[in-house]
């Protein structure tokens, strides 16, 4: 037998008051009458002997004590376990990622879920300790294992949805760690996603009642490869349903672009839009859609960065003229230093290495990436099979969305494949010919590597097209993702290390906030931040959050009923017993109006 509300037992002290009242009950002052026989006639059927009256009074006292005891124990909610063994502890993991802020009717699904959790919590005994973990990209223990229900409920009420993508992995690992001390622990996961690990995890999934969501899942500013003075904005949109959205681009407070876009459910819609804002000006990207349930992914605020010239070392045995011509068109954005292999040294200052018909024995760690043209036979970790030049017309695109192919008109190209590129899993083919991959890209040891196994000089349709300089520019930009511009775009939830004392935020609505934050800045809002000399943009940019899951929803009420069904709740029975005792007491002791 357990008590859900043991604190109600404090009311047992009130029994003392009843006993005192019984013992020191003031005797009524007799009222003399001359007509007592008539009063006796009036209550002729009530005539009782004194001992019967005393017995009734005692009985009334005992029944009154029983009634009070019954009420107190009913308030304490006594329960007893039945059926299978019940958990000794419960860890509640609450997903507070951005998608939990999606509105369902008048509330967010997080608020709905927290209410359900509270209901379920009230069904388990007070002796069972409960811990609360809030989870976004990182877990946070809101309440350690505690039997203090008020503290637990308070911790639940403190959880608010963050504009941060979700990741339950760490939270569940932490929850399992917390539950190690107990034999049987249940982990309640309140989320809009279903976790695959079902072991002792009780899902509390909430589904939004209606509406859809459309959001910006990627956004960046870049300079046009051939027109580096011109900016273009790359915007990727996704939606949960087929909806029409309006995309606004507001440059320095002025609406400059308005597009109506029809989105297809679950598919990416990418746009390249020209922008004309000057350096340091803000550009806000905002989408509007009727019935949109999640606001945090509807806007991105960027700042036009300073131009940053990347240092490129082009090391080639025999410099290819077409490649040189193509690279020359990128001279405004890249400082290209042409070297021979003999001149190459790991100490050469460069951000990116173009290894043409050559490959260094050891790639310096400071390089962001390596673009390999006409690769030699031996490259560590790669297998390069040289073949007799084969015309591939057009190359088969293996990854349509890969950044290398942005602005590249693949179907119109005709290439002369000179090598078949293969390697470990980290290297993914981008273009392939009949014999195999002719262009691959991947990330190894935090360095990006692009390998192109074709000869531009022999390719019928490549060298003189605009696609080749675009391809090279894409490859160089891809190889140096964090160096391309001075103003990076971060996803919410990332931590920025810094040495400043405060962080300055500019929000999308032009509000400015300065907060004290030392050492690490958590990007938990959407806007432009600056700490010390570092600055950047923070936006949700998460397809996982934007594409709100459409789940087969757990019936939480049923689950709560299941939890409750593990126990017999004696409080209702006690209430009935109390009522019965009250009726008996009234009938036995007071029905005749004689005490």
């Amino acid at each position: 037998m357990n008590l859900l509300m043991p604190s109600a037992l404090w009311f047992l002290l009130s029994i003392a008051a009843i006993i005192v009242l019984y013992v020191v009950r003031r005797r009524a002052k007799p009222v003399p009458v001359t007509t007592l026989p008539f009063f006796k006639l009036l209550h002729k059927h009530l005539a009782e002997s004194p001992w019967m009256r005393r017995l009734k009074r005692l009985l009334s006292f005992l029944l009154s004590v029983l009634i009070v005891l019954g009420v107190i124990f009913a308030l304490a909610k006594p329960i007893s376990e039945i059926g299978e063994e019940q958990p000794q502890a419960v860890v509640i993991v609450v997903d507070r990622s951005a998608s939990m802020a999606a509105r369902s009717d008048s509330s967010t699904i997080l608020e709905l879920g927290l209410q359900k959790i509270k209901n379920a919590l009230s069904a388990i005994p007070a002796q069972v300790p409960v811990a609360i973990i809030a989870s976004d990209i990182q877990p946070e223990v809101m309440s350690p294992m505690s039997t203090d229900r008020l503290a637990v409920v308070y911790a639940l009420e403190q959880i608010k949805a963050q504009s941060i993508p979700g990741n339950h992995h760490h939270a569940l690992t932490l929850a399992k760690h917390l539950s190690q001390e107990y034999k049987r622990t249940e982990i309640w996961l309140l989320s809009d996603e279903i976790h695959e690990d079902k072991s002792n995890i009780v899902p509390f999934t909430i589904k939004r009642s209606a509406g859809h969501n459309a959001g910006i899942t990627a956004c960046a500013l870049r300079r046009k490869p051939q027109e580096r003075n011109q900016l273009e904005a790359f915007v990727e949109l996704q939606a949960t349903d087929n909806v029409s959205v309006k995309l606004e681009i507001i440059e320095d407070g002025n609406l400059t672009t308005l597009r109506a876009i029809d989105l297809i459910a679950g598919e990416r819609h990418r746009l390249l839009l020209p922008v004309s804002a000057g350096v340091g000006e803000h550009i806000a990207f905002q989408i509007h859609s009727e019935g949109d349930v999640l606001a945090s992914d509807d806007q991105v605020l960027l700042k036009v960065p300073q131009k940053n010239t990347l240092e490129v070392a082009w090391v080639s045995k025999n410099a290819d003229g077409f490649t040189g011509l193509a690279l020359a068109t990128l001279a405004q954005d890249f400082s290209i230093k042409q070297l021979t292999p003999d001149q190459w040294s790991p100490k050469v200052k460069a951000d990116i290495l173009i290894a043409d018909q050559w490959y260094p024995k050891e790639v310096p760690a400071h390089l962001s990436g390596v673009l390999v043209l006409n690769p030699p036979e031996t490259i560590s970790g790669l297998r390069i099979d040289h073949i007799k030049p084969q015309i591939v017309s057009p190359p088969r695109v293996q990854q349509q969305a890969h950044a290398l192919l942005f602005g590249v008109n693949s179907p119109r190209l005709s290439l002369a494949q000179t090598a078949i590129i293969s390697g470990d899993d980290w290297l993914q083919p981008v273009w392939a010919g009949d014999s195999g991959a002719l262009m691959s890209a991947g990330i190894r040891h935090n360095q990006r590597i692009v390998v192109m196994g074709f000869d531009p000089t022999r390719s019928p349709e490549l060298a003189m097209t605009t696609s080749y300089p675009s391809l090279l520019a894409n490859a160089l930009y891809w190889c140096a993702p964090n160096h391309a511009e001075e103003f990076p775009v971060y996803s919410c939830g990332e931590l920025i290390s810094h040495e400043s004392d405060s962080a300055h935020w500019i929000m999308a609505d032009d509000k400015e906030v300065t907060i004290e934050q030392r050492q690490h800045l958590l990007l938990d809002r959407i806007g432009i931040w600056q700490v010390g000399e570092q600055s950047g943009s923070s936006a949700l940019l998460s397809a996982q959050e934007t594409l709100l899951p459409n789940l087969a929803v757990t019936d939480i009420d049923k689950k709560t009923a299941d939890i409750a069904s593990h126990f017999i709740d004696w409080s209702h029975l006690l209430v009935l017993i109390v009522l019965a005792i009250m009726v008996i007491e009234a009938w036995a002791c007071h029905r005749k109006g004689v005490f």
Partner: protein, 300 residues
């Protein structure tokens, strides 16, 4: 009647005197006391003569007239009626406790009756109804005894726990001719039904009966409410009851029914019944009693 006392104060006695003067002028009331009637009696007071007829008492033959006229005449004598007024006073605790005005009314009514009776040359006896019937003093006749009666009435102690119904059953008026009794009581005892039965037995007494039923309005319509521990003024009996307006109404009906039963039995037994609430002015009560009493007196 000059000495002041608690009950029979000067004002009361003066009002009683004024009342008696008013009553003297009422002819019917003058029939009280020693009266010559048209009927023949057996007293020694000569009234007339008539011729002897067979069956007359030969002892009344006037031999002197027979000697002169040689005819038989018999002598007729006055028939003198003398009433014996029995005044029965309830001395139970219920008459003095709680509502002492009942005792005052009973004693004043008793004194007034005695005063009237003595003024009309009736004999007066006082009987106290306690556990038993007790004669207060020997029968008195003549106005000179009124002072003595006052003294005796004032010395009555109301400390008996008795049932007037039981005591009344033991009342025997004696064999001293016609008379009447006045019962001054609240008629409250252990059993209300017993008083009704007793009233039937009173009807068999050779006396003109008058019942003065003295009750307090509070006894008729109590103001009690809620949970009350009732204590009988006579005895130690207690009863805790819960009284609401409905039950008070039932109580009132019960008392009224009982009173009506007594009134009905009294009427059937030719006993005059007078309900005298304690809030009724004494003069008005006494006049009403005497007005109703004259009917009975008029029969004689």
């Amino acid at each position: 009647m000059t000495e002041e006392s608690e009950i029979f104060d000067a004002e009361f006695l003066a009002s009683l005197r004024r009342l008696f003067v008013r009553l003297q002028q009422k002819r019917p009331l003058q029939k009280h006391g020693v009266q010559l009637t048209s009927s023949q009696g057996s007293s020694r007071e000569f009234k007339d003569r008539r011729s002897y007829v067979s069956g007359d008492d030969y002892r009344n033959i006037d031999w002197h007239l027979f000697a002169r006229f040689e005819r038989l005449y018999i002598r007729l004598f006055e028939n003198i009626q003398e009433y014996h007024v029995h005044v029965l006073i309830d001395t139970s605790l219920s008459m003095s406790q709680l509502y002492p005005e009942k005792r005052i009314i009973a004693l004043r009514a008793a004194l007034a009756l005695a005063y009237l009776a003595l003024c009309n040359n009736h004999r007066v006896s006082f009987h106290l109804l306690g556990e038993q019937v007790e004669r207060l003093m020997p029968p008195l006749k003549g106005q000179g005894h009124i002072h003595k009666i006052i003294q005796q009435l004032e010395q009555i102690s109301y400390d008996t726990v008795g049932d007037p119904a039981q005591a009344l059953r033991r009342f025997r008026p004696g064999r001293d001719g016609k008379g009447m009794f006045f019962l001054c009581s609240d008629l409250l005892g252990d059993d209300p039904e017993a008083m009704v039965d007793t009233m039937r037995t009173l009807g068999s007494l050779p006396l003109d009966g008058h019942v003065i039923h003295i009750l307090s309005p509070e006894e008729m319509d109590p103001t009690l409410q809620g949970s009350v521990l009732l204590q009988a003024v006579e005895g130690d009996e207690q009863r805790r009851v819960y009284l609401n307006a409905q039950e008070i109404e039932q109580y009132k009906r019960l008392v009224e029914d009982w009173q009506e039963q007594i009134r009905s039995v009294a009427r059937s037994r030719r006993i005059d019944y007078l309900y005298w609430p304690t809030d009724l002015p004494f003069d008005q009560g006494l006049l009403e009693m005497l007005e109703r009493g004259q009917g009975l007196v008029g029969q004689h």
